[in-house]
Each structure stands twice: as C-alpha cells, then as structure tokens.
C-alpha cells in the first residue's frame, strides 16, 4: 500500500503534478482551496504499537480517531489534546496535519505537544522517519513537531507516534452566569491557581469550567469555585470539541488566537471563547483586515476557519522574513510543489 503511494508521489514529482492529501475529508474545509489528484490515506490504517505502560501509541496516518480513542479507552487512557471529530469523522493524520486541538488544549497541551515521532514521505517520494517512540529525544531538529499544523504541505504523514495520558479518575463541570469580561478574568485567575482545570468555555453569558483529576481533588476544587453543576456536561464538552452546535454552523466563522487575557474584542455579538481565553471564535462578516489587526494587537493571529476563501489566504499573512523561511522549507521538502499546493499559503 505504502509502495503504491510512494510510486504516485514519485510520478507526481517527476511531472510537477499536484496531489491533494485526503483522509476522511472531515477537515477539507480548513485552509485555502486546493486542486489536484486526490491522494487517499485511508488504506494506511491500523494501530502499529500501543504500550499503555510507556504512554506511547503508534498508528498509521489513515487510522480513524474513533478507533484510536476506543483502543485507548480500553486501557483507561486518552488523547490529551482532544482533536475535533467534525461530523464524527477524522483520521490521526488529519488531526496532526491540521494541528487542531479541543477543549483540553489550554491545560494539557495541543496536538504538537504530544507528537513524539513521524514517518512521512516527502515531495520527492523519499520515505523518512523522524523522532521516535520515547518522550525525551533531542537528537536532530524536531522535524516531527514541524509536521503538526503544516497541513500536509511538507510531506505525506504515514505513521505517527504520540504520547498519551491516563483518563482522569473523575470530572466535574460547573457553570456560572457572567459577562464576557468577567469570564475572561476568571479563566485567567483560576489558571494561575493550583486547580485541576481541564477546559473552559464562555458563550452567551454562560461560563463553563471542567475539573479533572482524583475525585477528592475535583470535589475540593468545586467547593472553592462554587457555581452550579453544568447540565449534560459530557455532551457539552463533546459538542464544543467537535463544533457540533448551531453556533459553529454560522459563516463566515473566524478563529482568533490571542493573549488569553485580551479584553472583549467587541466585534459583534456572535462569539464563543475557549482555551482559557486564548481562542475567540467569531461568527461575523467583518473585513478580514479588521479581524487580523484585532488579533495582532492582542499578540495573536486570525484565521478564516469556515467561509468563502479569501484572495490573500485564509491564514494571517506572515512577516517577510518568516515567509521566506516557509518558502525555503517547502522548497526543501517538496521542491516541485506536489503536496496540497496553496492550502497553507497561496505562495506555495
């Protein structure tokens, strides 16, 4: 199977022909539009190695997230970065290539934080292996982590090793009615105290917080924080993780990553805050320049997450020195622009 993919990539490289990497296609909307022959990763499936005592799982890129999470759950473990499963679908390769992470990311880490190693095929058809299956490894440049969020533009991921963690013994979720400004203040203040936080959200006047850990610890934290129990808590966090609520059906949908302490952005009423204040989802039809400037002013960047593609790209344009480095890296890993041409930046 892998050999057939390598042959196609070599052929595409020889003929400068673009390929579009596709797993379940559940995140095909993300990034800029691409054209080319589809390269289907779903035959690359299966958990290759799983050692619960080592906290390490290795699986082929086309393995469904659902399959991986089921295997982990059998051993009381989980993917700590809670990758979204839009429409219930999604592969491991897609989760890492997009680098998207769910509600736990502000407290446990993002997809890139859990990548230990990858196997990939570069744009010339050369199979490569970086990193490994151990938690501490500083031999060579961290090319594995570079693949997280690169949207497949540097290579076709074929196998990924991840650090996994035990599922918390207990979880309690609380809700508070408060303003946006108050929610941002509380999210940040709580994060500065030794509390077992694992997710936070604010939308439409409702602040929700999840506590995870030993039963005694989450109960003690609940006593400190007060609030009311959150109704259908598991369902609430799952819907937020998978963006399965009507709010996320709105278009255009922007994702602004900002300093978590940034004051309310005041860019329309339809917004949702998560990641301890660091991610602000906005369903507003404002000029891209306004949104990008707002995010930049608060130490971050704005992405058009869903909506009609922008001429200068759905991701915030890079400063010239950084853009040049991106171009250099792309040129080295995929000299003929075979993979996902234009998906990350229109320039490559």
């Amino acid at each position: 199977m892998l050999d057939a993919l390598i042959d196609r990539i070599r052929d595409a490289h020889a003929h400068h022909r673009p390929l579009v990497i596709r797993g379940h296609g559940s995140k095909a909307f993300y990034g800029n539009p691409v054209s080319g022959e589809p390269l289907d990763t779903t035959p690359l499936t299966g958990v290759v190695d799983y050692q619960p005592q080592e906290l390490v799982l290795t699986a082929r890129a086309g393995t469904p997230l659902a399959e991986i999470e089921a295997r982990l759950a059998e051993q009381g473990q989980m993917l700590p970065f809670e990758p979204p499963r839009f429409g219930g679908a999604g592969t491991l390769g897609g989760a890492i290539a997009t680098g998207l992470s769910g509600p736990r990311r502000a407290y446990a880490g993002a997809a890139r934080d859990f990548v230990l190693g990858v196997r990939l095929v570069d744009g010339t058809g050369q199979p490569l292996r970086f990193g490994g299956q151990v938690i501490k490894n500083v031999a060579g440049y961290d090319v594995s982590r570079l693949m997280a969020g690169a949207l497949g533009t540097l290579g076709l991921l074929t196998e990924i090793s991840l650090k996994v963690l035990p599922r918390p013994a207990a979880e309690i979720s609380l809700q508070f009615e408060c303003t946006e400004a108050e929610a941002i203040r509380r999210m940040n203040e709580w994060a500065g105290r030794p509390l077992p936080l694992s997710a936070t959200s604010w939308h439409a006047g409702l602040l929700a917080v999840r506590l995870s850990g030993a039963a005694s610890a989450v109960q003690a934290a609940q006593a400190k924080l007060g609030g009311e129990p959150l109704h259908d808590a598991d369902g609430f966090w799952q819907r937020l993780r998978d963006q399965a609520t009507p709010f996320f059906d709105k278009r255009p949908l922007w994702r602004l990553a900002v300093n978590p302490t940034a004051a309310p952005l005041n860019l329309g009423d339809a917004h949702w805050i998560e990641a301890g204040g660091g991610v602000r989802w906005l369903a507003v039809d404002a000029p891209p320049a306004v949104l990008r400037e707002a995010a930049r002013r608060h130490g971050g960047h704005a992405t058009l997450f869903r909506g009609d593609a922008l001429a200068d790209g759905n991701f915030a344009p890079l400063a010239p020195a950084l853009a040049a480095l991106h171009g250099n890296l792309k040129q080295r890993f995929d000299p003929h622009g075979v993979f996902n041409r234009g998906r990350l930046y229109p320039e490559f």
């Binding site: 880490g109 500083v138 013994a169 950084l322 991106h326 890296l329």
Partner: protein, 484 residues
C-alpha cells in the same frame, strides 16, 4: 585566524569592554560543561543589546565568518565548543527579566537569564517555570532553548519546547524573526518547535517568552528499595498503568546509591539493588490519594522497603541524595563521563544487563542514574584521565551505550543535545536521507553554514569514515556510501 580588517570592523560595533582577545581572557570560554573538548576561541563577543547581536551577525555574514552562540556554558555535549576562525557570541550579558505578566502567566526574558532566576522572580506570585535541568542554578534560558532542556519533571510538565511561547531571534544575516506569540498558537509552520533544540544552528535567540505555572499546593515523595533492578523498572510501568503521572520518578542503581549515601547521608537503604524516588505533586487531596495508590503499587511490585517522606525536611533529604548523585560519583572516581540516552522503559533490564557486561569488557565501572518516568538514562562511566588511554576507553564505552539505546528503539540524547560529543552516534540513529533533510533544514535558515558549524548533524561522508554504521534489522544504514 580572523583578519585584522574584520577585527577592526567588529570593534566598531560594540564597546571595547564587550570584546575579549587576550589569551587569559579567552581561556574560560574554551569549553562548555563537557571539558574534555577544548578549543581557545579567536575572539569572544559579549554584546549588551539586541542591536549589537544583530550587527555582529550582519558583519559575520557579510565577511563569511562563523558564529558560535553560547549561554552560560553549562552544556554537556560540547555544543558551545569554539570553532577556529569564528566569533564566540556569548549572550550572558543579555540577562534582564523584561516583564512578568501575572494574569497571563508568562515571563519575557533575555536569553542570558538563568533558568532558576525565572522561578525566583515568579515566586512572589505563586508561579514558577517548570523545566528544571540539574544545572538550573547556572544554566541560561537561551541555552535551554538551544538544547530543549529537560530535568526531573518532564513526564508531567514537559520539556522546554512545551513551556516556551515565543522567541525573538536573528537569522544568520541579521534579520529579526518573531516566532510564536502571546496566543496559544501562531500562523504557519511550527518554527518554535523547530528552533527549540536546534543547538544554535538555525538562528540566535535574543528574547524568550516562557509559560509560568501555578506552584503545586503540595509535593510528597515516596522512596522504595528493590533487590533487583528489573523489578524496580517494572514498578515504574505499574505506577503509570495505575493512572498516576508522578511529577518526578527517579531510579538509582547500587553504585549510585552507595556513592550518594556516602556523600550526603540521605538515609538510603544500602542493602538493595535499586532505589526508586516517586514524587507526587498537585492539589492537596489528589496528592494524598495518589501517594496511597503508589504505596500499594510499589508493595505489589515487590519493593523490599517503602518510606513516605513525613514532612518537607524529609522530602528534601530523600531528594538530596539523588540531586547529589553526580558530584557523589565524582568523589569515588577521579573522572566520570555522563551519558544521556533514552530508551523505551520496558527495555531497561536488557539495557542495564548489557551495560554491566560492557562494564566488564571495558574494565570501567558504571553508576546508573535514571529519569525512570520518561526513560532517560544517565549512565556515569568512571575513569581516570591520568591513566593513559582511559579517556578514549570511556568515550568508546559511552558511544557503545548510546548505540545500544538506538538498538532498543531509543535515542542517543534525551536532554543534553548532540553537539560535538554525540555527532558520530547520529550516524547510528539516522539514515542518510534523514541526515540529508537535517542539512536541508539548516540550509533553509543558514545556507552558508556559518552558525555553529560542525555541530549536531554529521556530514554524510563522515559517517562512512567513522565506521559508525550498524546493521539494524538486516538493513545497513548509509549503504550508498563508499567505505574503506
């Protein structure tokens, strides 16, 4: 040698007291923490501002002069070893903590700030910087970024790469790069990950924004003795399988225990083959629950003795032995050589058995200190540099240990970096196509290879010359290269 014309231009960029040329001034910079590698630098530049750093880089780039960046010089892989005809760019004077944002839990610091100084500055707010390499009292954050430094708390709190949010850095031609930011992520490729651990080969960092964490409410430590290292190794897996992620999980073998006990009198049992130290931190209630779980697991795993520190004084005493393990070994041997491989934990019995066998073959004793939670092994090879041939023997032995780590699915360096020291073993860990890609990454940032040349990534032809190619799983690495 640097040309007089270059030196004249360099003098124009920084005040006279920021440049060292005299032999007695240069000697302190001839090595980093791995002092078996020494080379006197031609010139040491100690810039005091970011602008001076950029100006020096621009001049060196224009003149084709290599630049070796150096922080506090505590590295253990000769990553900051001076290179002939280069400028040694010491960033120690850029040592200001620029600001601490209490609410956002970040600190913005210059690269020369010491690791521990960040936690000390954050302490009044109940915050700290988590990665704690054993040299944290002296090592600089810039060096931590260059090496992706770890410490004893990595399993739970991650490495440097997990705790840095943003960098200001300069490319070899003096262009400013602003990487990462105040937000949870940044647009484009994860250059923050790429630069972290890049050993000064891609850019020169002039500012680091780190995450600060709330200090845990409580920390408690359990000490367990075992009559067999394999049992102790298995107990580590059992603790993790029970759903506990310890803040620290350390193991010492018999020789390390004896050396540490003789040095600091920590009260360690001496009639055992291995000792585990398991620290739990977090919310008060959780610590109590987890300590009880760990106690039960250790008992079931066959520990011959289990002690829980009853108070902070006893906790610190338990740790004192482990933290003094390196100097303690230094007392029982004229010299020692510290290795830094990482292995999948389940391979521990096999690796320790093989190290013991090799110890016999080389005729050199080994004390093993192990970050057991994350599989990072620090075998300390005991030798006497005054005995002709022993240093070479120790180096050869060390190389064999690292190659053993690769053989069992691990890596040649968990937290110290490759530098000059392990560059030969890179040939054992990586095949030619991967090494070629590393050179490509380097070329994307520094096509003329002026930043820290000759470190971290071996030239492909050198792998063949060194004969460090190994038949692994029936495949000969670098098979396309000629060998003699």
């Amino acid at each position: 040698m640097l040309s007089p014309a270059f030196v004249t231009r360099l003098r124009a960029l920084v005040p006279a007291h920021c440049l060292l040329f005299e032999r007695e001034d240069l000697v302190p910079f001839e090595s980093d923490g791995l002092s078996v590698y020494r080379n006197t630098p031609d010139v040491v530049a100690l810039p005091e501002t970011e602008d001076q750093v950029a100006a020096i880089l621009r001049l060196c780039h224009a003149e084709g002069v290599p630049v070796v960046a150096r922080g506090a010089g505590t590295g253990l892989a000769a990553g900051a070893l001076p290179v002939d005809g280069a400028v040694l760019l010491v960033l120690a004077k850029l040592n200001r903590i620029k600001r601490i944002d209490l609410l956002a839990r970040t600190a913005v610091v210059e690269p020369g700030v010491r690791n521990l100084a960040i936690s000390e500055a954050a302490a009044p707010y109940g915050l700290y910087y988590a990665p704690d390499p054993s040299s944290q009292i002296a090592c600089s954050i810039g060096g931590n970024v260059a090496e992706n430094s770890g410490g004893v708390h990595c399993l739970k709190y991650g490495l440097t790469v997990h705790n840095v949010m943003a960098l200001r850095a300069f490319t070899v031609d003096g262009q400013l790069l602003e990487i990462g930011g105040e937000a949870p992520d940044a647009a484009g490729y994860d250059l923050l990950a790429l630069l972290t651990g890049s050993e000064g080969m891609l850019a020169v960092v002039t500012e680091v924004t780190v995450k600060l964490l709330p200090r845990p409410e409580r920390a408690q430590v359990v000490l367990a003795a075992f009559d067999d290292v394999a049992k102790a190794g298995a107990a580590v897996g059992d603790i993790i399988a029970a759903g506990v992620i310890p803040a620290g999980l350390e193991m010492m073998d018999k020789l390390a225990i004896e050396a540490a006990e003789a040095f600091v009198h920590a009260g360690y049992p001496l009639d055992c083959a291995a000792l585990l130290l398991c620290e739990i931190d977090g919310v008060n209630e959780e610590v109590s629950d987890d300590i009880a779980t760990v106690h039960d697991v250790l008992k079931a795993s066959g520990a011959t003795e289990i002690r829980t520190a009853e108070d902070e004084a006893q906790r610190l005493k338990f740790w004192a032995g482990r933290k003094a393990a390196f100097p303690a070994v230094g007392r029982i041997s004229p010299d020692y050589y510290c290795m830094d491989g990482t292995i999948p934990r389940k391979q521990l019995p096999r690796v320790l058995t093989r190290i013991a066998e090799m110890s016999g073959e080389f005729g050199l004793r080994v004390a093993n200190v192990f970050h057991a939670g994350d599989g990072n092994l620090h075998p300390l090879i005991l030798f006497d540099a005054n005995v002709p041939g022993e240093l070479e023997k120790a180096e050869d032995f060390g190389g064999r240990i690292l190659e053993l780590c690769v053989e069992v699915g691990g890596t040649i360096t968990g937290e110290h970096g490759v530098g000059v020291e392990k560059i030969r073993q890179m040939c054992a860990q990586f095949a030619s196509p991967e090494l070629a890609r590393f050179h490509d990454v380097k070329a994307a940032f520094d096509p003329d290879r002026l930043l820290n040349p000759g470190k971290a990534v071996p030239e492909l032809h050198r792998c063949a010359e060194w004969g460090r190619m190994h038949v692994h799983a029936g495949q000969l690495k670098h098979s396309e290269l000629p060998r003699f």
